[in-house]
Assembly symmetry: C2
Homo-oligomer: 139 residues x 2
């Protein structure tokens, strides 16, 4: 199995070596074996990194992401904490998706809008509160 330096991993994963070291210190990445003090990764690290990035980009904090990644397999108390986190995060992700949907609708609406001020646009304001992704036109 091919061994990868931190630089190669960083380049392939599209982030920096310092971020990888930071993730390791933060307990998101397991400490890989060393070859004369230098970290040697296997390809397996990329799956882990994808999970980390996905969680972080979905609004998880470092601590939540760690629990998400590591608290899963452990015995009952961590697993229970994990389930609690997962349930809470499921709600948060739902809320995030809803806001993103509304923001998208807003951006689309305002793209076609010629009202003098955004807040004067009736349809825009309605779009700000509406859940469906339906598109409206101003004026």
């Amino acid at each position: 199995m091919k061994e990868l330096s931190i630089g190669e991993v960083a380049r392939q994963a599209g982030l920096t070596a310092s971020a990888l070291r930071y993730y390791e210190r933060a307990g998101l990445l397991p400490a890989p074996p060393r070859r004369s003090r230098q970290r040697r990764y296997t390809e397996a690290v990329f799956g882990r990194i994808s999970l980390i990035r996905l969680a972080l980009e979905a609004g998880f904090t470092i601590g939540e992401t760690r629990l998400f990644l590591t608290g899963f397999s452990e015995q009952t108390p961590p697993a229970a904490r994990w389930r609690a986190l997962a349930a809470r995060k499921l709600e948060e992700v739902d809320a995030l998706m809803d806001r993103a949907r509304r923001m998208k609708s807003l951006l689309e609406t305002s793209f076609q809008c010629r009202c003098p001020r955004l807040e004067d646009c009736e349809k825009f304001l309605r779009a700000a509160k509406r859940k469906p992704t339906e598109v409206l036109r101003c004026g």
Copy 2:
């Protein structure tokens, strides 16, 4: 029209007075008239605050939110900047929604999963990469 103190606005809007002052300094909220140096708001501020929160919670920075709110009505150069921002942000919001969707799918999948480690779960990993919201079961 009823006049509101910063404390009342904060309480009703569900944020702090210091956040409202911060938004004002940052150019997100217009400076309201003062009654013996104290800010007096009208109900109209709540619409503006909703827009601000929506933008911020959808991942806009303070600067982007300001442009979103104020750069809209102004003459051609700001409006052009605004359109550029809106187009870019539309893509970002799409990406955010996609990640949120995938994270949701992941959370749902892992809720039913009994694999020893998350990364050992084939279906979980597939869920991490999949776009549709389809739900899978582990084991």
